[in-house]
């Protein structure tokens, strides 16, 4: 892994204080330093980190942590709470104008993903809200940007309005809205050209469009991989345009995405959506809590927090470990695990956390995503109790039945069965590995 998660970072300090009856202020100082480094490595802006650390310190020196039996875990919990608070709740609502069409304007730096997001948003509006959007190509600068939007329009079978590269963006939007009224499009999504926040001329162009068409929403599209500069970009766009929301793109990558935190902190505007892939249906509501875990280094932290919060989970984990060792892990357990996994965040990250998973044949190309998970769930739920306990009995006709019941194909069922057996094999290898190294105990199910 490129970065150490917060939990790894805190290991050393935690070791030192385990067994100590009391945690000193010096210990807390050391821990907050590690927290600071972890956040910085996740690209959270410096100023934001400073504010956060101040609050975390305040809470950490308080009784909450000092008197806890597990101060290290408590610190992580405090940090996560603060991050989640800062990021606010889930808010993926889109404005509806009193009189249609509702106008949405997409703005951002070059290469952030505005055009693709425009297409995804249009798709989302149609599928989830039963709307009928018109896309407007206002990027007259980048070569073939209009063509790109038109291609997306064709793929989605949606109208795209453009006046070529010679027209003025303000005119384009005006005419587009008139056209939308005529054709009864209830949403208009304006794809503007990418621009640097320091480019005064182009920023003025956006202000003109805004003044003219009075959009109901202005979404700032930000690349989730953005570094420390995210603050300046967001601040500047927000100051000049008073944006109404943020779309974070490329979150299917392996960036920690600290930029999300920075943007929220400086603009106080909600992050509404997250781009989770290159396909047009891969736009999701933004989950602040998942993001908090991700910034901190994902599952390792979660597992610790869960332990800190309840002991029941620990018991479950023990049971699971036992099942894995005895190879009695069934599809029922698998289903239960998946439920927990789905609450944790992006699956690619989880896969990356499984030791050696990349090298494991059959898993390497598994490429799980959320929609596939839904499929897998459907398949398992279409199995009988007996089949779930003993997959070996699933023969050809049973496969057909399961495929039919789950609305998938026999190939999909076969794939899942194969993956399941690979997984069991892997578990065996891992438990063996673990035994060889440490004897017993300490083993955690990879998803936890």
């Amino acid at each position: 892994m490129a970065f150490e998660g917060l939990a790894d970072r805190l290991q050393g300090t935690i070791k030192k204080i385990t067994g100590k009856g009391k945690v000193s202020e010096q210990d807390v100082k050391e821990m907050t330093r590690e927290v600071r480094l972890a956040l910085l490595e996740a690209d959270v802006n410096f100023k934001v980190v400073k504010q956060l650390i101040a609050r975390i310190k305040e809470r950490a020196v308080g009784q909450e942590v000092m008197e806890s039996l597990t101060p290290g875990q408590q610190v992580i919990k405090v940090v996560k709470d603060e991050l989640t608070n800062l990021m606010g709740g889930e808010q993926s609502k889109i404005a509806v104008a009193d009189r249609p069409p509702t106008v949405i304007m997409m703005v951002g730096l070059q290469g952030a993903g505005k055009t693709t997001t425009t297409g995804k948003l249009a798709n989302h509006l149609r599928k989830k809200h039963n709307r009928n959007p018109l896309l407007v190509a206002c990027d007259i600068y980048r070569p073939a940007a209009i063509k790109q939007l038109e291609t997306l329009g064709t793929q989605l079978d949606m109208p795209v309005f453009s006046l070529g590269t010679e027209a003025n963006p303000v005119d384009i939007t005006k005419q587009a809205i008139a056209k939308a009224k005529e054709d009864h499009n209830d949403y208009v999504i304006i794809d503007t050209a990418g621009r640097l926040h320091v480019d005064e001329n182009l920023m003025e162009e956006l202000q003109q469009i805004k003044a003219d068409v009075k959009p109901d929403e202005i979404f700032l599209v930000v690349d989730s991989m953005t570094g420390q500069d995210a603050v300046n970009v967001a601040e500047s766009f927000n100051e000049q345009l008073d944006i109404t929301g943020v779309v974070l793109t490329k979150l299917d990558g392996d960036t920690r995405g600290g930029a999300a935190l920075s943007i929220k902190a400086v603009t106080d505007k909600p992050i509404k959506f997250a781009g989770m892939g290159e396909k047009l249906d891969q736009l999701e509501a933004f989950h602040p809590e998942r993001m908090a875990s991700r910034i901190l280094g994902m599952g390792d932290v979660l597992s610790l927090i869960e332990k800190a919060q309840t002991n029941v989970d620990e018991k479950q984990a023990k049971e699971l470990e036992e099942k894995m060792r005895t190879m009695s892990f069934t599809f029922d357990d698998f289903l239960e695990q998946m439920g927990q996994v789905r609450q944790m965040g992006p699956l690619d990250d989880l896969m990356a956390m499984i030791p050696g998973a990349n090298k494991m044949k059959g898993l390497k190309n598994a490429q799980l995503d959320e929609s596939q998970l839904t499929e897998v769930e459907a398949i398992i739920q279409s199995m009988t109790k007996k089949e779930r306990q003993d997959p070996a009995i699933i023969n050809g006709s049973r496969r057909k039945r399961i495929a039919k019941g789950s609305g998938t194909s026999v190939a999909a069922v076969n794939r899942l069965l194969k993956q399941f057996s690979e997984m069991k094999k892997m578990m065996k290898q891992m438990t063996n590995m673990q035994k060889g190294k440490k004897g017993k105990g300490g083993f955690k199910f990879p998803f936890m």
Binding site: A2, F3, L37, L40, E41, A42, D43, N45, F46, L109, Q110, G111, A112, G113, T115, Y141, R142, P143, A144, A145, I146, K147, Q148, L149, E150, T151, L152, Q155, L196, H197, V198, D199, D223, M225, T226, G227, Q228, D229, A230, N232, V233, T249, K250, D252, G253, D254, T255, R256, G258, A259, E278, D348, A352, N358, K364, N365, Q367
Partner: protein, 336 residues
């Protein structure tokens, strides 16, 4: 003579370097404003070089995306140097800072690695890779224009068959730079496009073939495998090729740039970096982080949207650009 003076001396030598440094200064105004402004401010506030000074310096560097571990290394070295040279006054440390930055950049290697290695016999192939939206296609357009101006016979291969409009975008650049573009239709196999590109370049006896590829996030195993396959096709057709594999990085990217550099290198043996959008950002510090941790040289930087705004990277000019406001501007004018 101080280190900055030496740098300054270098830029007075001839017109060409002067032009380079002016372009850097112009393009990096924003970068410089925040970066050197902050260091100036820091130095003004701290007369003495002490722990607090270093802590704030750490902040300035991290804010420039230099990266936590590189900053820690750098500050550690600075502390030693300060002790060794017995520096007490903060104004004296400017030189030491810029010197260290250049040192990190060059490391053990010589400066020739900054330039494209395209002097071999026969067709030279450049493969261009990177994540989505980094600026691959635009950089290829600019690079083609530059090589063409150097008298090379250039052909482009439109290997981004995935993104809508990508092929058309490259074609527009091909027209602007006046070089032919080899393409298939959208959705076709990129390796096949590249193969055709090679064949076309060979039969037309081109000097350089530049291969565009679709943007991909480095954690997508399948897409990275596809890229490795493209590279294998090139290797098979022309022994020793690709002669350059350029990774295009967005200068506003944070620490993920390191992972990008590492993973793309594993798949395609990246030989150099093109750092784009450096004109708008307060950053670019990631250049140092990559150099420090991965030893991949930056070969070009994008300093603007014009076709001429892709510049050969010059570490001296880069650092000079960063520090140009640190009280040496007036002297420069006097010298002219």
């Amino acid at each position: 003579m101080g280190f900055m003076d030496k740098l300054k001396q270098r830029f007075k030598q001839d017109e060409e370097t002067k032009e380079v440094s002016e372009k850097y200064q112009e393009g990096m105004t924003k970068t410089r404003n925040t970066f050197s402004g902050k260091i100036n401010d820091l130095i003004a506030r701290y007369r003495k070089v002490d722990e607090d000074f270093f802590e704030e310096l750490e902040e300035v560097l991290i804010t420039a995306d230099v990266g936590v571990s590189t900053v820690m290394d750098l500050v550690e070295e600075l502390k030693m140097e300060v002790k060794r040279q017995k520096i007490k006054d903060s104004s004296e440390i400017k030189d030491v800072i810029s010197e260290k930055l250049v040192e990190i950049y060059y490391g053990e290697e010589d400066k020739s690695i900054q330039h494209l290695q395209l002097d071999g016999e026969g067709l030279q192939v450049i493969l261009v890779v990177g994540v989505n939206g980094a600026g691959k296609t635009t950089s290829i357009g600019k690079l083609a224009h530059q090589l063409k101006a150097d008298g090379k016979n250039v052909i482009l291969a439109a290997g981004d068959t995935f993104r809508a409009g990508a092929i058309e975008q490259l074609e527009v650049w091909g027209e602007r730079a006046n070089v032919p573009v080899i393409k298939h239709s959208e959705g076709s196999d990129p390796a096949a496009v590249i193969y055709d590109g090679i064949k076309a370049a060979q039969s037309r006896q081109a000097d350089v073939l530049i291969c565009d590829t679709a943007g991909r996030l480095q954690n997508k195993v399948n897409l990275m495998n596809e890229l490795a396959k493209v590279k294998r096709v090139i290797e098979r057709e022309i022994p020793g090729a690709p002669h350059e594999v350029l990774l295009v990085l967005d200068a506003t990217t944070g620490q993920n740039a390191l992972t990008q550099a590492r993973t793309f290198s594993e798949a395609t043996d990246v030989t150099g970096i093109v750092l784009t959008k450096l004109d708008g950002t307060a950053k670019g510090g990631i250049v140092l982080a990559i150099r420090n941790e991965l030893q991949i040289p930056v070969k070009f930087v994008g300093l603007g949207e014009g076709i001429d705004d892709l510049r050969k990277f010059d570490a001296d000019a880069f650092v000079y650009g960063l520090f140009a406001d640190l009280g040496i501007n007036e002297e420069k004018e006097e010298g002219e």
